[in-house]
């Protein structure tokens, strides 16, 4: 038994199964973060005085993190492009850098969290910090999820390159779509939490 269109696109839809699957998954992720952003907006506009707290956030560090994530999105594309050009070594280099950059993002985030805790800012301190920790925390979980997937593709999962190169390229593309989404969420989080 063979399930069709796992690798090659179906002619009338123009998609292979995994690609449609990841787009649907991302649609649900949009609804998840959409609900969180809406809650943030509703709480903030509904509050008589929105608790201050964004002055306490470290904008330079967050800018650095934004740069890190955007760079990692670029390396992610390059790793997929390398596979398209049949250059497996280049793929490994780019994928490796993507994972390292993701770790870099988390390390910076950990410093930020630690500093907030030192100053006595916890999720329970005020609704601003509640929103801040919940949303960046959930985004952080998504980054960790991306690291797990990408590490699999760099490590044990890369064996597939020798047997089914096209399918492996598709997998990297799908992981890339997810990774760009995680990047995009941060691009919305950064201004709405740090700057506004």
């Amino acid at each position: 038994m063979q399930i069709p269109y796992t690798v090659t696109p179906r002619s009338d839809t123009g998609l292979f199964n995994g690609k449609l699957g990841i787009w649907l998954f991302l649609a649900s992720e949009v609804m998840l973060f959409g609900a969180l952003f809406s809650s943030y907006v509703l709480l903030r506009t509904g509050a008589p005085t929105w608790p201050r707290g964004w002055e306490e956030l470290n904008i330079p560090l967050a800018t650095l993190n934004t740069a890190i994530l955007i760079t990692s999105s670029v390396t992610m594309v390059m790793s997929w492009a390398s596979l398209m050009m049949k250059d497996f070594n280049k793929f490994r280099r780019y994928m490796g850098s993507t994972i390292l950059l993701a770790f870099g993002f988390l390390v910076v985030k950990a410093f930020e969290y630690g500093h907030k805790f030192e100053l006595g800012h916890f999720p329970s301190t005020s609704n601003f910090f509640a929103v801040y920790f919940t949303m960046t925390g959930l985004h952080g979980l998504h980054v960790i999820g991306g690291i797990v997937v990408n590490s699999y593709l760099l490590g044990p999962g890369s064996k597939m390159w020798n047997t089914e190169p096209e399918r492996f390229t598709n997998r990297v593309e799908i992981a890339g779509l997810y990774w760009h989404f995680v990047d995009l969420v941060w691009i919305f989080l950064f201004p709405s939490l740090y700057l506004l």
Binding site: M1, P4, N17, L20, G21, L43
Partner: protein
Amino acid sequence: MRPRKERETPLEHVAAAEHHTHDHGHEEHLGFWRKYIFSVDHKVIGLQYGVTALLFLFFGFSLMMIMRWQLAHPGEPIAAVFFIAPMALIGVVVFFISGIKPSLSMLIGLLFLGMAGLVYYLTSGDERFPGGIMLPEFYNQLGAMHGTIMIFLGVVPLGVGAFGNFVVPLQIGAPDMAFPKLNMVSYWSYFVGGLTMLVSFFVPGGAANSGWTSYAPLSVIATTGQTMWIIGMVFLITSSLLGSVNFIVTIVQLRAKGLTFMRLPFFVWAQLVTSFLLLLAFPPLEAAAVLQLMDRVAGTSFFLPSGLVVSGQALQNAGGGSPILWQHLFWFLAHPEVYVLILPALGIVGEIIANNTRKPLWGYKSLVYSVIFLGFMSFIVWAHHMFLTGMGTTISTFFQTTTMIISIPSVIILTALIISLYGASIRFTVPMLFALAFLPMFGIGGLTGLPLGLAPPDIHLHDTYYVIGHFHYVVAPGTLFALFAGIYFWFPKIVGRTMNTRLGKIHFWGSFVAINFVFMPMFIQGLAGVSRRLYDGGQQYAHAQGVLYLNNVMSIAAWVLGAFQVVFIVNFFWSLKRGEKADTNPWHATTLDWQTPTPPPHGNFLHEPVVYRGPYEYSVPGKKSDYTPQNEPETSGQKA
């Protein structure tokens, strides 16, 4: 067809067929665990969903029976033996009559015994029944968990998980779901979520007790059971998320050659729209669950307003949160969820009506467009559950308008199904009886919803028994009857034997009469102003005195209803081995699910099916047989 051994059992068929039709060159022997427990075959997963969901339905029903006992006899000691003895008896009977693989029948028998034990635990103990008399706190747990279990662990997994999994790939001519391993993960995620809910009865303070809606701030300050509820919900949401991605990809990508969208059986359309609702409506509840978890565990105040006083003590929290925010997030899921409950049922009824009227469905295209429009509209009606929250008349006006608009496609669907009966020579089979009963029952459920969708009458009716009567008419004699119809209809495809007709008719007529005696009096009580969620059934209120006697009527009817479900359980297990043998297409149906061996082998079809026509070509003039399967090639000289 393959000759069948006399004592083969359904699951063994699947296994045996697996060996016969494996198209890899090598024999692959799957052990017990891979075949029955961690299977990736959509049919086995569908059966797993079905069995688990039926057991949860039965358990949710038992919770309701305990509530109904209390409502009829508030303040009197409970006679637990009436609950436990029938379950234990069913367990023993199942073990002896089913005759399926001993390990499986023992497993199912033990599950019933386990359920009897669980009910014994729930109906005893000083923290629930001191002196045999129910505490109000425990009644609250029953209410919350009855709703949660019936909706998230019973009806949806049965309608989407079981029927969707088993039937959709067959009807579209696919070898399996698009992502078989993901399918397995969906089931096990559902299973863990269900288990979390059951275990929550044993934590201090018992299970969740803030209603199935878990309104804040009550749920935020509730006992540990609420945290378990949230964790359980996260597993269930994950399950339905993975499931819905899988369904949509399967339907879009794996349709057989020639099966265009407008040739899809109506059931597949219903499942496709359902999957979109699950995909897009559940994540906001997940977000809400995360926020509530933060409120409960990390001490945040997303849903806690400033200055909240609990038991005479000011709550130590930052405040500034919004309880209504929870309601918005919750109903953003829970209204589409209503359509998740009803759409698969409409799909099943459509299939059965076309098959038993021997006519094409009337208005197939308007059915399809209505379902799509319904799915879209269901995202913008949610706040009609919140007219009493004081969100303002402007917003109320918007939502009552959208609610009136959404009733149009519902009425089109129901009308098309009823007109389909016109001029037909109807076969009154057991599935058809259930499908026919579905139409007026769902009609009552829908029409009684109109006053609730308009803000002025809703102010009177909100949170009364009228609301309970309304949505139970939609879900119990509505959806559940359709699901029963589906079980009777597809049973021969799964097992190779039909369920006993006489027992089926007893089950149908008994349930049909009894269920109306359970839910019709609720409208009367509700119009009299009796509130829901009262643990004494309204005894302490003067305005309820005139309609209190109905509590007894409803409770007796509920027992009768339960008794007739035993007929179904006995029929189900008895027919597994002793039912009348059925060939591959016993109902002479046209869709692809019947054009494959029974039970379908691993990979479903012996040859890749090619589709030549629409789904319901019954009684085509000039044809010899009164049905033309979708995959029958055109012969020259015949109309397309």
